[in-house]
């Protein structure tokens, strides 16, 4: 008790501001029906969950490596687009699986290059630009192969339907994929080989770049070859069985496809994050401002690539069957009934709640919160992360490869953002500007919570989500202000503005955010 009094006395301005905010909020609640209130809170929680998926990655990355990853919004959007593709066009996913596996197999040669280079002692002479040239060459070879590989979705002759159409069709319960492309075997083999070579060249570029900074290389064992070899086999198998697999996935139904989409988007996001960190971010650890600018640029590039591949139109992503039934027994009365009958909505305290938007997303958000929190608090890697935030050099001096941990954290953060993107797809729609609004929301949540604090990211997201939805609600029902005769109806643009104002107020009173450390 004395502790709390003490805390209040020491943080008087903070306490007063918070109290004032709470009072304002409670006053504003006056004109609201209880059912409105419940639905608004639930919607707020759902928005908070998506925001949290972005903000948590932010805070993990910022906390450990001081990088404010401004590409995070774009990565969120990329997650949504990848999820959409896996979900609505599973044939594209399978078409891409083979070149992807081959490319990764090529990348996995990096340790071999490492060892070879240090033996040949060429790394020292490679200079600053050569590694990047090889990297660019590798990407060129990759593109050369990709263009030749038969990917149905990219074929102009079958491109009679825009991507939007597939989404609309799926919403009506149809999946009518175009006939798969055929290509002669020689061309496919050439394409496969150049994709693999592209990966190998990229790995060589990376290895050269890394090797410039050191004199001796780690030993490699032949066991390092097993994984790439098996990836090659998998890739070729997927190519051989492409049609059968596609038919199988289509037949499996939207719920399973959604699961696949979530996994694919999250893993792809994580992979992208790992690649980003190990190639572009790493050289800039000594120059934080430049990292900021770099991620800003990457965000722009990513968005342009997405527009080039998928077009500018907003696309629909229908909800999976599990959350989409309307007819018999729906809206359900209990959660259990909703699951059994796969209801889209559920009756709760006099209002109707959407099972996907208001329940599923929130539950996933909570699960992620708990899992990441446990990862941080209970596992060895979490221990290393918490220690690394404070003293990177000492962790390294204990014999721990901190760089690997950094890459992992970056991949984790980006993976979470991509997960947020694919989850948000069915509720928000998929469009090329979805990243920007989430970047802003995530930044606000992060700043409110205190930049490096993981619980802070959760609290900040909660505030941002709730505030947004309450403003939206007041936009519909109006808010009775003491001095105005007419109820005031905030317009949609005021939604982000209100969260920004909240951030500014909180930061002015508590420059380190709610959970931030002093200094």
């Amino acid at each position: 008790m004395t502790g709390i009094t003490n805390l209040l006395r020491k943080n008087r301005t903070q306490s007063i501001t918070l109290a004032a905010l709470v009072v304002l909020f409670l006053l504003a609640l006056q004109g609201m029906e209880p059912s409105d209130w419940i639905i608004t809170v639930l919607r707020g929680l759902s928005v908070a969950a998506v925001t949290f998926l972005v903000a948590s990655g932010f805070s993990l990355i910022f906390g450990l490596m001081d990088v404010l990853n401004l590409a995070h919004g774009t990565l969120f959007m990329i997650g949504a687009y990848l999820g959409w593709t896996a979900y609505v066009r599973p044939d594209t996913l399978l078409d891409l699986a083979t070149p992807f596996a081959l490319f990764i197999a090529g990348l996995m040669l990096a340790p071999l290059w490492d060892a070879g280079l240090s033996r040949a002692r060429v790394a020292m002479r490679a200079g600053r630009v050569l590694p990047w040239l090889i990297l660019a060459l590798g990407l060129g070879v990759l593109a050369f192969g990709l263009v030749r590989y038969p990917i149905t979705a990219w074929d102009a002759s079958v491109y009679d339907k825009s991507p939007v159409v597939f989404g609309v069709q799926l919403d009506l319960g149809q999946t009518d994929l175009p006939a798969p492309l055929t290509a002669d075997r020689a061309q496919v083999i050439l394409a496969m080989m150049s994709v693999f070579a592209g990966g190998a060249l990229v790995a060589l570029g990376l290895a050269l770049n890394a090797a410039r900074q050191r004199l001796a290389a780690p030993r490699v064992t032949w066991r390092a070859l097993w994984l790439p070899l098996s990836l090659i086999v998998v890739g070729v198998l997927v190519y051989a069985l492409n049609d059968a697999l596609t038919a199988g996935v289509v037949a499996a139904g939207t719920t399973w496809r959604f699961c696949i989409a979530v996994i694919v988007a999250t893993l792809a996001g994580a992979g992208l994050g790992a690649l980003m960190e190990s190639t572009l971010i790493r050289p800039l650890y000594a120059r934080p401002i430049y990292q900021l600018m770099l991620t800003l640029g990457l965000g722009v590039i990513g968005r342009e690539v997405v527009i080039a591949l998928w077009g500018r139109t907003q696309m629909q992503m229908p909800k999976p069957a599990l959350f989409n039934a309307m007819g018999k027994g729906c809206p359900a009365e209990t959660l259990w009934d909703a699951l059994i009958n796969q209801c889209a909505t559920i009756n709760f305290m006099g209002t109707r709640i959407r099972t996907y938007n208001e329940i599923f997303i929130f539950v996933v958000g909570v699960i992620v919160l708990i899992v990441v929190w446990m990862l941080l608090q209970r596992t060895r890697i979490g221990m290393i992360i918490r220690a690394g935030v404070q003293d990177r050099a000492m962790v390294e001096a204990l014999g721990i490869n901190v760089r690997q941990v950094f890459t992992f954290v970056f991949a984790l953060g980006v993976g979470l953002a991509a997960l947020g993107g694919v989850l948000a797809g069915p509720s928000m729609g998929v469009s090329d500007d979805m990243g920007e609004s989430l970047l802003l929301a995530g930044l606000i949540a992060l700043a409110i919570g205190g930049l490096t604090s993981f619980p802070g990211a959760a609290a900040g997201s909660l505030l941002v989500g709730l505030l947004q939805q309450f403003i939206v609600k007041y936009g519909q029902i109006g808010i009775a202000l003491p001095f105005g005769a007419q109820p005031f109806k905030p317009t949609p643009p005021l939604v982000p503005a209100s969260t920004l104002l909240l951030m500014v107020i909180i930061l002015l009173v508590m420059p380190n955010g709610l959970f931030g450390r002093r200094e």
């Binding site: 990047w132 800039l284 640029g297 590039i301 342009e304 982000p496 104002l501 930061l507 002015l508």
Partner: protein
């Protein structure tokens, strides 16, 4: 004579820019008279491009003073520019004020914003300052786009039909506008040079280098940052006013984060903290944008993004910064090369 020698590059550039419209006309085969009469042609078009570069350059200069010289990272700088543009536009259109009064209003608006930003200065530092300024600018961005202000600010289309004074109409009096913009840019640049060399500017640099030490020496660093903010705010607002006078529409994009990023990109291209880099960067940026748009259309911003990333990775000090760092070696290398060629030639004869 000494002044001429010391500032030869600067003077050469100024002379070139003054001669530019005439040179363009000559190259195009247009008569000088036609050019002076403001008839369309290549010269008029490129004058327009250069005016845009001047405006961007002023905007980037004001950002360089904050970020490059004083070390304040702001993500809300576009607001300084947009407030100037909207104030000028509204004053001319809705208040029907003459130009001088409008400019006075713009300057006041610039000071007001600087004061707004300075409220948070003592509380937040570094990345948090960047985020708070981003918050301010985004709120402004949202507000001018809102439906309530549709009649006034034109919503997400922007402010249109701003009445331009006859003597400075960018369509009819392009050449006059060109010289006014050029003169204003040179004036701003010279003022900034002097500011950086003034006792105040020196302290601003010291704050960027080591704020704690500056405080321990007895400088109340808040006031110096405030001065930098005010100077930067007024300059950016005037740049915005010029923009409002020149462009047919003042778009709300000028208040967005993307516009701040443009300024960041420009000084990155030119060299952070070099002042002249801001102008060089603005030229490179706008010309790159122009030609990329011309040749690549849709994907031009992708290429611009790649250029940007490459710059961050390989040319962190920008064009001017790298030039300054290596000028002596390069000059020596060229001199050596000339000497070698000269001896070779001598041997032959």
């Amino acid at each position: 004579m000494k002044i001429l020698r010391d500032h030869s590059t600067f003077l050469a550039v100024v002379v070139f820019l003054i001669a530019f419209p005439f040179l363009m006309a000559l190259l195009d085969g247009q008569s000088i008279g036609a050019m002076l009469a403001g008839q369309s042609g290549n010269s008029k078009f490129y004058q327009g491009l250069l005016i845009e570069i001047f405006i961007l350059g002023i905007f980037a200069l004001s950002y360089d003073l904050l970020f490059g010289i004083t070390g304040l990272l702001s993500f809300g700088h576009a607001m300084f520019f947009a407030v100037g543009a909207y104030t000028a536009g509204l004053a001319l259109k809705s208040l029907k004020l003459p130009l001088p009064q409008t400019l006075g209003l713009v300057i006041l608006a610039g000071i007001a914003q600087a004061l707004l930003f300075s409220i948070v200065l003592p509380r937040v530092k570094g990345i948090t300052f960047a985020l708070v300024t981003l918050g301010f600018a985004s709120v402004f961005h949202i507000v001018i786009m809102s439906h309530e202000l549709n009649d006034l600010a034109g919503g997400d289309v922007g402010l249109q039909n701003i009445p331009k004074p006859d003597y400075l109409d960018p369509a009819a009096q392009r050449l006059t506008f060109y010289f006014v913009a050029l003169a204003f840019t040179i004036l701003v640049y010279l003022f900034y040079r002097r500011f950086v060399d003034s006792p105040t500017g020196r302290v601003c640099i010291a704050i960027r280098e080591n704020e704690h030490r500056a405080q321990m020496l007895g400088y109340n660093t808040f006031y110096f940052k405030l001065v930098a903010l005010i100077v930067s705010g007024i300059t950016a607002a005037l740049g915005g006013a010029l923009h409002a006078l020149y462009q047919p529409i003042v778009s709300p994009v000028t208040a967005s984060l993307a516009y701040t990023v443009n300024a960041l990109l420009i000084i990155l291209i030119g060299g952070v903290g070099t002042l002249s880099g801001a102008l060089v960067g603005a030229a490179v940026f706008r010309l790159l944008q122009f030609f990329l748009d011309k040749f690549f259309g849709e994907s031009s911003s992708f290429i611009l993004g790649v250029v940007y990333v490459a710059l961050v990775l390989f040319l962190p000090y920008g064009i001017i910064g790298t030039w300054r760092a290596h000028r002596l070696e390069w000059q020596a290398a060229w001199r050596a090369r000339f000497a070698r060629v000269a001896t070779m030639l001598n041997r032959k004869t």
